[in-house]
């Protein structure tokens, strides 16, 4: 269940970010969303009484990081390249904070290695109740507004001319993607690449219409995470390796392929 939820949420967050930021290389782990969620998740461990609020803290962290990246990119031109670069900078900066916290306070309620790589072992049904509800609500809202995502992907001026309140909807989608990524990270840790690769795989299968892409991405993300989780549990059985390792093994090469494919567009941006 945890794998299904995490896969669905991170993939959808990636799809929304890629569309809203008009950037094929956007993904929660690439542009700083995951780092923000990770930092706030690590921070809340200083307050053991509030551990149940981890999903909300992760959401707040994800939202702050995304808005920070968006505003930096906007101030400096908002090209595809600037978004990725400012995301990398924010990601690295926030990641350093998380590393510091997890290093100086190794006895926190979360496991340092497990959290940084991302893993699903030890997740309880109680632990995924609140994130599950948040993920479900976000999925429904993204699906309802999927046609608006299509209009937004035409570019700001065309979308505005068609009557879409671009600033409002961009903010709504950024909040929803933060909610999705933050909820997943709160129980699964910093799972890499899934938010980047699954939306692209879904586009290869059914094209670019977000009305279809949203449910297919959610399904594909859940299936991929479940598949990786099964591999993580069985490859070295009886030992279970963190699922994040499997995802990065599969996602890394795909990301390189994508970078090569996007080379021309990056140069143009």
């Amino acid at each position: 269940m945890a794998a299904i939820l995490a896969g669905c949420a991170l993939s959808l967050a990636g799809l929304v970010l890629q569309t809203v930021l008009n950037n094929a290389l956007a993904g929660p782990s690439i542009i700083g969303v995951s780092s923000g969620a990770g930092l706030f998740t690590a921070l809340i461990t200083f307050f053991p009484a509030y551990l149940t609020l981890i999903p909300l803290a992760a959401f707040a962290g994800a939202l702050i990081a995304t808005l920070l990246v968006y505003f930096i990119a906007k101030k400096t031109g908002a090209s595809r390249m600037t978004i990725v670069l400012s995301g990398a900078a924010v990601s690295s900066f926030l990641g350093a904070f998380t590393d510091t916290i997890l290093t100086i306070k190794p006895d926190t309620a979360i496991s340092r290695i497990g959290f940084l790589i991302g893993g699903l072992s030890g997740v309880t049904m109680d632990g995924i109740k609140l994130p599950g509800i948040l993920i479900f609500i976000s999925f429904v809202l993204v699906f309802i507004f999927s046609y608006d995502l299509n209009v937004l992907s035409l570019g700001d001026e065309t979308a505005k001319s068609l009557g879409l309140n671009v600033a409002k909807f961009r903010f709504i989608f950024i909040v929803l993607s933060s909610l999705l990524a933050g909820s997943a990270i709160s129980f699964a840790g910093l799972l890499g690449f899934i938010g980047l690769i699954v939306p692209h795989a879904a586009r290869f299968i059914i094209g670019y219409d977000n009305r279809l892409l949203v449910p297919v991405t959610a399904l594909l993300g859940s299936s991929f995470a479940l598949f990786c989780d099964i591999l993580a549990r069985t490859i070295f059985a009886p030992y279970e390796i963190p699922v994040g390792i499997i995802m990065s093994f599969l996602g890394g090469p795909f990301f390189i392929y994508l970078l090569l494919k996007q080379r021309r567009r990056l140069i143009d941006a």
């Binding site: 209009v151 505005k160 879409l164």
Partner: protein, 254 residues
Amino acid sequence: MLELRNITAGYQGFEVIKNVNISFAKGSITGIIGKNGCGKTTLLKTAAQLLKPISGDIILNGGSISKMPEKKLATKISFLPQIRSTPNTTVYNLVMHGRFPYLGFPRIPHAKDKAIVKKALATLGLKKYRNKNVRELSGGERQKVYLAMVLAQDTDYIFLDEPTTFLDINHQLEILAIIKELKKLGKAVIMVIHDLNNALTNCDKICLLDKGEVVIYGSPKTVYSSGAIERVFQVKCEEVTLQKKGQSQYVFSL
């Protein structure tokens, strides 16, 4: 009638156009001309409400449009930017986006919307491309698809930012012919255009801008006769009549 009253507009407080007073009537083509950086696109974006004016007001049929909801405004005014991303979608789906201002939740097009899109595709001769991906089309064909989207949006006022730029001569003439069709349908087309001969021979009104201010606004003949084009562009302009067709053309030299 769409009227710009004493409009000053620009970016981050910097004034690009100043005290512009101009009005556009339905069933006419207006060409906005001027040197690079004189504020043509800023004027277009401000009139289409994509850019909030620093001061002044825009009046549509007697009422200000500053407080009009986005969707309602999109049923009155459409705008086609010069630089656009090319979406990875079919021609039909892109043209259907023109109906977005009319769609309620859950954004499902009705039979009327589908009929309007079908008609727009037919009017622009795009029926055969209906299921083709927009990215597979040439620049000229893409421009026609975007114009079909604007046609499907069904607004009285259409703003086009350099609709013929980067197109080959065949597609330029085809796009200008489509713009004349839009005029026949009773639309007001307001376009930024760099080709002065095309502007003077295809528009009903010419608005010449210089350093953000309107130098002259009137019929092509009036603008040509005033000598303002020669002064602003620092070129010589001569009207010639084609013997075979009897049409006026304008030749420019340094």
